[in-house]
């Protein structure tokens, strides 16, 4: 039996093992070294960021988490970054779920991001968890005109009348933008058809890879920002990480007495190249800053990004190796196919 024959009759379990190693080894290497692949944002990810960034602080954002643990690997990082951008910008977040387990996903992502990094946000004033509602697209169709009918209480059983940020919310039209993380039905397509299209509201979608091709036709008229699969999540995550770092640096510079437009230029420079912050603080231009403010600036510039905000970028390493393996296997399969055809072996 020659090599071609042996490969043609290769037990599929060897392929599974190779795929397991192709995914597992990069995870361990990235987990130990902390290095991730650089991400160059595409216009779709940038557009998703811009929709939330262009809104004034305090805008009302409806965040629909329509996914479950089975797709958390793809959509969890998107949910984390959506919350981080809204929390940093000062938007008011209203969480709902059309999937039963979506309620758990809301609790998980809010406790990780808001509980861990934005503890000053007040439940009921800055964010509210309205929980799961059964009814699929009927829920969307109803809350387009009557929000209270489906949401008389929040997920904790508190009447919406007693929740300050629910004041003035009578329908979906009262929100400034819709954000949806979706793993299937009901999900992004239903939000496009029943909410964004009739209301002409900005809609940002983060969806699984399986759904993404279905969603592209809606861009840009019905969907203003689209994050497809883990790649979209990684791009958006990198944009949000850079922006948050830039905002933190800007605050540190302005607290230290550096005013606009210099502070913005410096924040952008230090975000791209953190080492510059240490050098700059020794220059005459930084004389106005107190030693404490300089130390704070250098600390912010060089602080590592928290691990939970790098989830998607970490998962791009295994993607690369696994895709290379798949391409190799496709080439090998074709070589075997044509070699056998040439030899006249029946399939």
């Amino acid at each position: 039996m020659n090599l071609i024959d042996r490969m043609a009759s290769l037990d599929r379990r060897w392929i599974f093992l190779m795929m397991g190693l192709a995914v597992g080894i990069p995870i361990i290497v990235i987990g130990i070294t902390g290095k991730t692949l650089p991400e160059e944002p595409t216009p779709l990810a940038q557009a998703a960021f811009n929709v939330l960034d262009d809104l004034d602080p305090g805008s009302r954002i409806l965040m629909a988490w329509d996914f479950d643990p089975a797709s958390e690997g793809e959509l969890g990082p998107m949910a984390t970054s959506f919350i981080r951008q809204c929390a940093q910008k000062g938007h008011r977040m209203y969480f709902i779920a059309l999937w039963p387990v979506g309620a758990q996903m809301i609790r998980s992502s809010t406790s990780r991001v808001i509980g861990g990094y934005y503890p000053d946000l007040v439940y009921g004033k800055d964010w509210v968890d309205l929980g799961f509602k059964a009814g699929n697209e009927a829920v969307i169709k109803t809350i387009v005109t009557d929000f209270d009918q489906y949401f008389p209480t929040d997920a904790r059983g508190t009447s919406v009348d007693a929740i300050p940020m629910m004041e003035g919310i009578t329908s979906l039209a009262d929100f400034d933008a819709l954000v949806n993380a979706s793993a299937g039905y009901p999900g992004s397509k239903e939000w496009v058809l029943y909410a964004a299209t009739p209301l002409k509201k900005p809609l940002i979608i983060g969806c699984t890879g399986v759904q993404a091709p279905q969603m592209y036709p809606y861009v840009p008229n019905q969907v203003q920002g689209l994050l497809g699969a883990i790649k979209g999540a990684a791009e958006y995550e990198s944009i949000v990480n850079k922006w948050v770092r830039s905002e933190q640096l800007l605050d540190a510079l302005e607290l230290g007495g550096i005013t606009e437009p210099t502070s913005s230029e410096l924040a952008a420079r230090f975000t791209e190249n953190p080492a510059e912050a240490s050098t700059w603080t020794t220059e005459a231009a930084a004389a106005a800053m107190s030693p404490e403010a300089k130390t704070r600036l250098i600390e912010i510039a060089n602080a590592p990004i928290p691990g939970i905000f790098l989830e998607a970028q970490r998962r791009m390493g295994p993607q690369l190796v696994a895709h290379l393996l798949m391409i190799g296997l496709i080439i090998a399969g074709n070589v075997i196919f044509f070699a056998n055809r040439r030899r006249g072996v029946s399939q």
Binding site: V23, I27, I30, E72, A103, A138, P152, G157, P198
Partner: protein
């Protein structure tokens, strides 16, 4: 035993050996720690205020609600007779928090047995204890070597209650360790006649406290057996599902059945509490629901219109009855009819008309710069995109137009349509592969991070390497 089984057994054997080695080396793995505490809520009557534009704030009655017992509302409006409920709260903490508390505990214990060099002569108890506290803290920090931050406190509230006074003059002979010195200082205070209460130094959760109420200072951070078992069950089920890749087996079947059963039960419970209770029962019997099931639900009158969905829901359950199953068809007919109508309208507006609208756009797309000039590069590619879109739509429509034989020009255009379709399917397949690999990566991360503690991307156990000797 054939070769295949031998290979499998070897792999499983190696895996088990690695696990055993991992369990007894370094910090072990697969544990969840929690912080236990108390939570209590109190029922208060909050005034409902109306603040009109003219500025005269008026009370419009009161509303009854449960609030956190530590909140401002509880302080202002709760009385001794107000109904209260309390329970033990459990908050997950990272292993790092537990490790740091353990290091701090050990550092404090070690510091307590080192000599206390300061001389306490002719000073008061407050000054003496503060001197002692600062010296102990310095020693404990030196022992912890930056891996944890021990703290030392004197619980003056408890000491005062037991009769100790800060101003009591004491004289203590120097010498002995910190523990003995503390005893000597407090003995001297007792000799002055202030107190005869038992006083002790309690070390818990990285904090040392001198107090008379030792029972209240039990360690709050510790291993959670229930959550740890939950983690291990998640691991076992994950591995059981993966075992299908080798071949179908009873472990896989058990895991699959458990997923189906748990999902069905979860659906039922969450639908009851998130939909039926607040949205149906809360509308029909608001007082009963507020009094017994959802205290936070607002007051209101019964809305008897909700009897209609209640009856329809009841009829749907007739499918389970031995007779009268046809009654469930009425509900099904209603569901099918309304869903069809809803979807038809939505698809016509959102899919059909909007997509035609998006396709019928000028072939030449002009992209402007911020200064109002035309960006030639972007305009060129935007136009190419629009032309490709139109060609793709027309050629795909031609492929699906079967009234004309696909020959000649029509055949060639249809062939272009096939190419567009194939590229679309390829892109969809690529996205699907990417999605599945991401899910596999997430499962592996769970196994390597949460269970095996091989990696620590979220800094949950970073101090762990330093305390390997503890385990």
């Amino acid at each position: 035993m054939n070769r295949q089984k031998l290979t499998l057994l070897s792999i499983v054997g190696i895996f088990v050996i690695l696990l055993v080695v991992r369990a007894f080396s370094g910090n072990g793995f697969g544990r969840i720690y929690v912080e236990r505490g108390e939570a209590s809520f109190v029922k208060v009557e909050l005034p409902v205020l109306d603040a009109p534009a003219d500025g005269d704030v008026k009370s419009e009655g009161v509303r009854s609600t449960w609030v956190d017992a530590t909140s401002d509302e509880a302080v202002d409006f709760a009385g001794p007779e107000s109904p209260r409920v309390a329970w033990r709260s459990v908050t997950p903490v990272s292993p790092r928090v537990y490790f740091e508390a353990t290091i701090a505990d050990e550092a404090l214990q070690a510091a307590l047995s080192t000599p206390f060099d300061a001389t306490i002569n002719g000073t008061d108890l407050g000054t003496a204890l503060e001197t002692w506290r600062l010296a102990l803290l310095e020693k404990a920090n030196a022992e912890a070597a930056g891996r944890a931050e021990p703290t030392v406190e004197i619980n003056w509230t408890a000491l005062h209650a037991a009769g100790f006074k800060r101003k009591t003059a004491i004289t203590v002979n120097s010498g002995g360790d910190f523990e003995a010195s503390l005893g000597a200082m407090l003995d001297a205070a007792r000799a002055a006649g202030d107190s005869d209460a038992e006083t002790t130094m309690v070390v818990a959760d990285g904090k040392g406290t001198v107090t008379t109420t030792a029972d209240d200072l039990a360690p709050a951070i510790g291993l959670s057996w229930s959550r740890t078992i939950g983690l291990w069950l998640a691991v076992i089920f994950t591995l059981a599902i993966f075992s299908f890749l080798y071949k179908d087996n009873p472990l896989y079947k058990i895991a699959e059945s458990v997923v189906v059963g748990v999902s069905a039960a979860y659906w039922m419970v969450i639908s009851l509490w998130d939909m039926i209770v607040p949205n149906l029962l809360g509308q029909l019997f608001p007082d009963f629901v507020q009094g017994n099931l959802l205290p936070g639900l607002g007051d209101g009158d019964p809305n008897w219109a909700y009897l209609v969905p209640a009856i329809f829901g009841g009829l749907l359950l007739m499918r389970l009855a031995p007779k009268g199953q046809y009654l469930s068809l009425w509900t099904l007919a209603f569901i099918v009819g309304t869903t069809a109508a809803l979807r038809m309208v939505a698809y016509i507006e959102g899919d059909f008309l909007s997509q035609i609208n998006a396709t019928i756009a000028p072939l030449y797309q002009e992209v402007m710069n911020a200064d109002g000039t035309v960006n030639g590069y972007s305009s060129f590619w935007a136009s190419v995109r629009q032309i490709t879109l139109v060609i793709g739509v027309l050629s795909c429509l031609t492929y699906f137009f079967f009234s004309v034989e696909h020959k000649g020009v029509v055949g060639k255009v249809a062939r272009v349509g096939i190419w567009f379709l194939m590229i679309t399917f390829g892109a969809a397949f690529g996205f699907t592969v990417m999605g599945r690999i991401a899910l596999l990566a997430a499962r592996f991360e769970f196994l390597f991070d949460d269970w095996l503690w091989l990696i620590d991307p979220t800094n949950q156990r970073s101090v762990a390497a330093a305390v390997g000797c503890l385990f």
